[in-house]
Subunit: 352 residues, 4 copies
């Protein structure tokens, strides 16, 4: 509706009585709410927001003294969108939190229908275990937990480990499809050595009988070292997308699709001084600065200056412009696979 219809004229006493009466039968008139249900463009409570890692870290260290990983099950501080407080959401349909695992701690094994990603923020060498294989965690590593995969974390180093968790908790809640259970053991048994998934699925080879199949990526860790090398190689070509700089998506080598059915993840490099053209899309996106410093303008008014580990949110359909002071790398994730599967994804590449 290019011009929303005027609210029906004269909510007469007759009509109001009618609404009251039918309300008792769980009926309600559409015409009093159509304009709010079907809008010309997206209308959302999700707002631009930003968190400096310094602030998050300080709060986490304090949390580390207040509760053990064992008691908490997951010692995580949830990043709540200021426009969606009390709902444990960072965007309308995604969840994000920062997790701390102290030296010697274990986040016990469980599994659930919710998918998860981890993006490592600080520390080196703690591990995540997924479906019987462990992977070490290093700064900038992107790690996934497929739905219903057993997973646990452990920190056998002498330094705290911090990472960002991204989950589709709101989506699974919305679809009334949450299932979960605890493992009998605190840590799942290990069935394959470190690096097995990468050799088996992530080296441009696949097992001879492997068919492309629906499901999350069997490559469950995307180490930053490998990703950073690829970005460096491609950056040599100096072929910058005006809207993105150099932007890649993490992929599932068994299908070429996204690593998980509900969450897409991206990594982009902005050369020093680069300013992106205005861009917007329907997938609200959470960003983590990985390298370099810069600033991002979201919509008309919101500006965040970021450095490594800082986190910010671009809501759906809000124009975004990034500007890198140094060569910068940004990690991001969104619900784009859901949008695309449901034929609802739109993007707008016109600078204006």
């Amino acid at each position: 509706m290019s011009t929303p219809p005027a609210a029906p004229s004269a909510e007469t006493p007759e009509r109001l009585a009618f609404y009251e009466r039918i309300g008792q039968k769980h009926l309600t008139p559409l015409w009093t709410s159509l304009a709010k249900l079907v809008t010309p463009e997206p209308v959302s409570g999700c707002q631009p927001a930003a968190w400096s890692f310094a602030e998050i870290r300080a709060a986490m260290i304090e949390a580390g003294a207040l509760i053990t990983a064992k008691e908490a099950e997951r010692r995580v501080l949830i990043l709540e969108n200021p426009g969606l407080r009390g709902q444990s959401k960072i965007t309308t349909d995604l969840y994000a939190g920062v997790q701390l695992v102290l030296p010697g701690e274990v986040a016990p094994a469980h599994r659930h229908s919710q998918s998860a990603l981890r993006f490592v923020l600080e520390g080196d060498g703690a591990h995540t275990a997924v479906n019987g294989e462990r992977t070490p965690m290093r700064y900038g590593d992107f790690i996934i937990t497929p739905p219903m995969a057993w997973h646990d974390h452990g920190n056998e180093t002498d330094q705290p480990m911090f990472w960002l968790d991204g989950l589709d908790i709101p989506i699974v809640q919305f679809l009334d499809a949450s299932f979960s259970e605890h493992h009998d053991e605190e840590e799942q048994p290990i069935a394959r050595p470190v690096g097995d998934a990468h050799a088996r699925y992530g080296s441009n080879l696949l097992p001879v009988d492997q068919r492309p199949a629906a499901g999350a990526s069997p490559v469950f860790t995307y180490p930053y070292a490998r990703t950073r090398d690829a970005l460096a190689q491609l950056a040599r070509g100096q072929a910058w997308d005006p809207c993105h700089g150099l932007k890649m998506r993490y992929s599932n080598p068994v299908t070429g699709g996204y690593p998980m059915a509900t969450i897409a993840a991206f990594i982009q490099l902005l050369p020093r001084g680069f300013q992106t053209a205005r861009y917007r899309s329907t997938d609200a996106t959470i960003f983590v600065a990985v390298e370099g410093r810069g600033k991002t303008r979201i919509g008309a008014d919101f500006v965040v200056e970021w450095g490594p580990r800082d986190i910010f949110v671009v809501p759906s359909w809000k124009p975004v412009v990034h500007e890198a002071s140094d060569e910068a790398v940004l990690f991001s994730f969104s619900d784009r696979p859901v949008q695309e599967a449901l034929q609802l994804f739109r993007e707008d590449r016109h600078s204006a």
Copy 2:
């Protein structure tokens, strides 16, 4: 979690002060809400519910006297789930309403990113137009409106026309992806004769250059006459699925998939006296009785006795048992395509 963890012991004053302080930075502890976010089985506000058509019809006739289709844009009474009042939802992620178009009225042309279905409840011969083609509407016809397709309705008969609208409004809202606009004209121009889509796409033929493609079914009407014949033919085999009787899904002939990306629709026949085995699935489902009488038990306690045109809702993961007094036909729809696309669909066929 088979046994949810006990709430962390002793929310100490220290912790409470911490929560308060970090709350101002839009941070909140996960451990106080994990049990509500990730549940062992789905937990939802959606409840079983039922509406008799007699009640709906009476309310609609009253509405017909209170507001014109023109003023309302769509003269619809929304069926609100009693556990989700005020949200215009019949299940956690779907919308349903009953629309009335009186003789001579037009529901003006518009389009939106939300997908819609119509299931005709009463009347004969009004039309729906989609993308330049009209189709007549008859009892039991299933008609779709793909996302962003121009659509309008008109009643050139001398009888009122009632149908059920099902839309993915909550899904599109949840994904912050609503777009819509009005057509310049009240009724869209007609480009193709009645029956064109069925001849072009629905007759086991396709245009020579047609490739399977994502998107809604180009067959936008599924007349009850054709559907009923197919059910009758198959019923002769007497091969009843214990959980469903004889259950079919409407399909998209270009892909073999669901007619729309977000909504699946089904038609099932229960022979006289048949009682289905207990069944449950994660896709909350809205049922419309089309023929015959029977009753349905939802969960432990909720029983609805239904006859033609009556409507009832089975929430996600609630066991359902149908029992047909006469040979009965039930129409139903749900968000199953979303569940399946996101790898979240589950069903449980064990009678217990």
Copy 3:
């Protein structure tokens, strides 16, 4: 190679001796045959050809007196491309023959990895059985036999039954993938009533648990009555493709793809007096005139005048022009699914 390289100069005695010597090790030089192996455009032994049904029919009746269906297993006269004699091929990779089943005869049940189509040319009411279901055969009906499906034919009428068989025998031979066996019984047991497949799969419905799956169409008969109605409906729009008139492909409702993995089939209507624009494609195509009279020019010189039941062949990459004297309907089939699966299909729509 826009200009094929000159044959290597001077096949010296030294070279010839070398070729002789290495030939004993099963080695041979590429450079003496490269120009024949990799050509600038397709080079093929397949030629334009045509058969009048009158001639075929007369020969078949004679064959009917010379051998029984039982002795022959299949009383078929193979249509051999004049450029590919002795190879049982009508095009480089397809086989076609005309089968006669006399009143009271049975073509006994067998199955094989080769796919087959039947296009009914004369007679009414004999049956084909596929996978436990029979279908009556009427003029213009298109019927498929998926790979390894049991099939048999029977003529319980008092008139002879003639149809065209199209099979991928050369393809299966080329891939060394032929498997076949006889059924213990002459006629397979019947498990489902006539019309079951159409009700179950061909009515824009599918069984509730049906997923799009690879494999041949479960709708194994496409009656001409239904097809002809669709053509008539679409012809009203008068929207003629310059190259084809009105051309449709038979489709698999479970996928929207071709009815079989190796063979595509098409039906096209040419209005009275219509002449198609020159068109060529890499899939050599066999045509059967179904209704009306006309003529077709293939390449520069070959012209066939056809009427109902006449058969002709258009080789790969040869331009074709049809001209209809009356409103005409042409059936055709080709290896297009193979071409497309292997990324080799080309077509050229430019009239010249």
Copy 4:
């Protein structure tokens, strides 16, 4: 047909005269050839065969003195299956040859609808260019040329370069779909630096807007170093498939499918002393020993003892048993993608 039908009894003079007469109309009886056209199991002219690299190398060096790469366009000796002589085929539907490019030579740029693979046998550092990017060639590297991609080779080292070419020339010929042309330049212009394709497509990342798409793998080189590391990593698990040892297939990261539409390629490791269980499949396969020594029995009688660079052929449906004296690595390729696309692939894993 479990027992092929007896040849029709008594080819009477009457029948023979009939066959002669209808032969002039390009008709021929099916019943005299059905048993040869549709066989109970594959029947093929393709035979087991083997070539020692020493023999091939000697012949190639001789060829190197007899003709320049420029004159030959491609200085290749074709490996002809002894059962298919004169057809330039190594199996019924594939071609293989060994190419030699001497120091300073260039194999000039051209393109064609045929797909090609290269497997490097000897030499280090010559290059292949595909679609504007060069890749160095090292022992054991697997390199592809997608259909219609410009490609050329150059040897700027001081040592000869030998590799195996595998092409689908017979398939493209069979489908009458050959197209080809020469480039204006001897060497195509270079648009991207070495390693670009691997960074862009082969690192578990894809360009942000990349959708899974049909077509050959954009990763056009699979260096042996990376492949060998993956095999070594997986071999640690000691989980040997009885039929294959450890067998992987090269994959297309954009789809998870085969690297080309017509040719699959595999790499397998056999631990020292390992003997595979009898295995057969419908895809005739060409093997190249890469490391180690062993022997292979094909069918009942054919045994080849192989060492690095030796080549042998296993026809369709012939049982094969490998036995490795040392830890061995075998490269192989076949038409499996065609077989699978056409629903004709079979394998038989039962040792007997």
